[in-house]
């Protein structure tokens, strides 16, 4: 690390790092892109993603497959728990489905950190439709297993 980079690290805020990590993750995350998810906002320990329910996301009952709702919630969790620029993965997740989502629905997943200490974290994602109807409540538990995702950004 050279001097100019070091001084840049010091100046970069946690919010800036969260945004840079999110950009890097999104570019490299084929699944999140394949589902047409948009990262609307990221901040330290926080992420909000949006996904429109497509015909190929419906299950045999004609509603959005629970796996697609989970994937959206889990992606929001991934962006939130990696926002500090340390490689972090999901250990376990719980999801409660409270209302079905339908084709064309715009789903918004908002993830917030509940707890973080050392390598362990707990994050809650709520998935709602655009008219604010709750679809699912998700809780993810994370484990930090590695170093920086964006090499020239600080670990926050």
């Amino acid at each position: 690390m050279n001097d100019s980079q070091s001084s840049k690290d010091v100046q970069e805020t946690a919010s800036d790092t969260a945004r840079r990590v999110a950009e890097w993750m999104y570019e490299n995350d084929a699944a999140t892109q394949a589902f047409g998810m948009r990262v609307e906002h990221v901040a330290p320990g926080y992420a909000r993603l949006r996904m429109t329910v497509r015909p190929d996301m419906l299950n045999g009952h004609g509603t959005c497959h629970g796996g697609m709702i989970f994937t959206l919630a889990d992606s929001a969790f991934a962006f939130a728990c990696n926002s500090g620029n340390a490689l972090t993965v999901a250990q376990s997740c719980d999801i409660d489905f409270v209302n079905p989502a339908r084709e064309g629905d715009d789903l918004i997943a908002t993830c917030e950190e509940r707890y973080h200490r050392g390598r362990s974290g707990i994050y809650d994602t709520v998935v709602k439709t655009a008219d604010d109807t709750p679809v699912a409540f998700f809780r993810g538990k994370s484990r930090t297993i590695g170093g920086p995702l964006v090499e020239d950004a600080p670990r926050q």
Copy 2:
């Protein structure tokens, strides 16, 4: 319902019904098809599905997105908990990720009923690679909310 159909119903075993429901569900389940899942075996309260990890299923860490693993486990759960020909949905699910899956891995999800009474059920899905490495342990809780999926098959 005519007489011949009625007598057919009586003769149809729970295993036959499970297979017919699975065929009907698969034909109508766009998401399960879109992921290239194959239904390998269904029986009353049981389903085994297979899915190959594609490049568009990878996350920003280069491993299979947890949402894809969940979706496979959840589809196996759906086939198992609907096998009695009564419309049944997921209420809540827990998943533990124990090993990453990689591009090209053949994932096999095996779901078994643990408990069933009235409208409520508990099902366990294990996801493994073809060489028997466990990838995820999933527990789904179901709620029966409606009538038959296949109109001319009995409710088992």
Copy 3:
């Protein structure tokens, strides 16, 4: 129901009902009393309970038994989800233990409603020590199965 009672019902606020239900529940809840729990505050969809870790609550590792921490969190959940004066029970609960509790620790469990519609609810309890160290994060899912707990109070 006579006229004076009816008019009383109309005037009773949801907060008053929550308190009356909590008093009734506490008087009838042998387990919550046996653990020395104190109900510090109740409100609609909310409860805060306190319990001091006693020597007979320790496990084989010399720390507070996870079952005691769960019991405190679950009691807070029970007071919160019954606060509307309709008999409600726990369907399922998840708990994450993040720090051990020790003999003499004063544990405070705060439960808040996350979601409620019809007969189903989702409630989050956080258990902390008196110096604000998180001990456990608990999520409970409730199901309303019956009528009023306090006969002469309204269902809120």
Copy 4:
């Protein structure tokens, strides 16, 4: 460690170690004793415990407090996940309550290891009444954090 001890270690089976660890744990576990739990059987990755529902274990609805059912399931989990003689604690637990338990019921909790690798494990406990009615399904995730519980027994 002297020679005679070393040769003893080699000869001691995993089943013998599980029993010795269980005896040690039970003697030191005030909570498990206070609830009158009996350890009926232990083996590597396995434990079966029994508890009779006492009047002081009832909740405000007159049935066994969910916390007591959890505590029994959690104790069975503790005996099972420590059976290899390495200090192991619960990280998180999920429980589903499927039938109420009543005063005088003899509850039997049977815990089995589902997965174990390195420091992480997944264990399932089923709690039933003596007449085989399921009361609760519990899944515990463990983390090994230390050395032997019984100093002169091997780590299995």
